[in-house]
Subunit: 379 residues, 2 copies
Amino acid sequence: MTVTTTSTPVPDSRPASAAGLISPVRIAVDCMGGDHGPAVTLPACQAFLARHPDAELILVGLPEAITPAQGWARTTIVGATEVVTMEDPVEVALRRKKDSSMRVAISQVKVGADQAAAAHACVSAGNTGALMAVARYILKTVEGIDRPALATVVPNQKDGFTTVLDLGANVDCTAEHLLQFAVMGSALVSAVDGKESPTVGLLNIGEEVIKGSEVIKQAGELLRSTHERGLINFYGNVEGNDIFKGTADLVVCDGFVGNVVLKTSEGLATMFATFIKQEFTRNIFTKLAALVALPVLNRFKKRVDHRRYSGAALLGLRGLVFKTHGSSDALAFEVALNRAYDAARHRLLDRVHDQIAATLVSMPPEAGSDDSADVGQAA
Amino acid sequence: MTVTTTSTPVPDSRPASAAGLISPVRIAVDCMGGDHGPAVTLPACQAFLARHPDAELILVGLPEAITPAQGWARTTIVGATEVVTMEDPVEVALRRKKDSSMRVAISQVKVGADQAAAAHACVSAGNTGALMAVARYILKTVEGIDRPALATVVPNQKDGFTTVLDLGANVDCTAEHLLQFAVMGSALVSAVDGKESPTVGLLNIGEEVIKGSEVIKQAGELLRSTHERGLINFYGNVEGNDIFKGTADLVVCDGFVGNVVLKTSEGLATMFATFIKQEFTRNIFTKLAALVALPVLNRFKKRVDHRRYSGAALLGLRGLVFKTHGSSDALAFEVALNRAYDAARHRLLDRVHDQIAATLVSMPPEAGSDDSADVGQAA
């Protein structure tokens, strides 16, 4: 990789106090990731810089592709010679493309003995499996975490967000994994959404504690005892509909269920949108009705616009990585940059570390500890 | 229980040939089940009888509650002295209320050595856990089936239905259970929706065969080999969004995932409906827009009306039982009666029996066979 610093130099300005906010916040961007690459990522970065005067960016990409960013204020350009495509298998991203923009961008957040941290977080729209695998390989997991998790937000009926994790990286989870998700997710919500003690719901098929599979029942017990020790704010079991009701700030489930929940919701939302469009374009009368209803429909559309919920966090790594959907447009990518900025600024990494450390005190040794996790399972 | 036959007597008119349609079709109705009881079930029954000249009903309930049905054509009234409430635990329904309308209605479909079958199917809006447990206790499972499953339909983008099972009765399923669901679900779709060789999708977190948990991968192999033997029409893995896309006629998953899928979809649909209503009632201008858009919005509403998808089937029992949501209104209850009618008319029970028998030929002995299934887990 080649580094070209343009305009302002980038000092390491992390304050020593873990309690204070980080400023300036420096974010590494994989400019080549996603379906659209620099055509989307660069405009998003420009808008992001304009909105955050204390933000700095490290733009990573093929030098010829990111030349438009030459000369931007608060921006460092780092070259990479390869690009991980949306179709590349995990193995290719991990073992062959060692100078990919994805890998170089992730490396910017690596804190090592030999290397000061260059960036506080990394954002990519690249393929999920590859991103999870490379991030895990480069950054390693936080002590006490077996498997990194992928957390996203969905809108809820209270006009807020519900954070859901895990989302497809971890199948066959143990109760301990679900507890880890709860702890990391709580840290995320407190850092990004500013809720100091977010409520945690355990996704189940009924509210009663006797419901669910063996793993879920065990997870319920673990979460309750962790709650009693004051380390998380466990609400109890929640059901699928509670995700959109906003019953708990955070909903924890294994990656299989989380992935199905997210994809099912996407599918239903798409069907609704298709049906509404079909009904309003059926004939001249319905088209006229559409004209009249357009401002209202647009307000509705804005409320459920998935781009507003962009920016899934990879939690449990020794560095912050956020990912957006491969099909993200500039708005969606900018939202992800904002989330990464908020997370870094409020020291999400330290929070995860502290909460995990506190939770592990007096925890029984983990039966289900498994370092050969199914990274790259996510679709 | 007391039997009062009013008007036409009910002969056992099942044709001997398994290939032919059953006519007349006789359905036992738990008139007391659900949030509304006879206020909903009786009008639904009346409408159903008017629509199906070859249908006969056996109405079961507290005698004083179902007197309005006295004198109806093609109707038998059977008294019961107890009612299973929506809050009753499974144990109460199963062990204490032995003369409940639910239990007496289910008993009508029991085919025993000492008792000719009185009804071809039973419909109840009563509490799911109780209904599953009582139906299983009274009717027993079909040979080769470890656990009865609950199957429902949801609308899809092709303006058709996708059948999903299991829906909450069975957690911790084995690959063999998922195969049984596929076989029973195929029989249901062919009987009720008239598709002779419905496609079966296995709900997973990616299309590739290497995706998913160990159980899912094993289930994929079982389904593929059963497909190769020509016994089911296996499409392959499907994802959450495929349910509403209509990629496969039938989507198979364990009861935990199925319950979460259904509840999540209900939650999202409710949120959408709430948001649309809020936007259209925001001020005088949006209310005027709503007036203009009303016919279009109503058409949309009708397409996604959950009442059209009423009538979940309990599969794998030696008798047909259909259940509707406790909050069903007369339309939803009538839709469930129609589904039970179609299933009985097209000999769903024989189809399940035949398909299961064919599938079991040359199947390895079941490792995961477990007759102590978690009946009553459904919320």
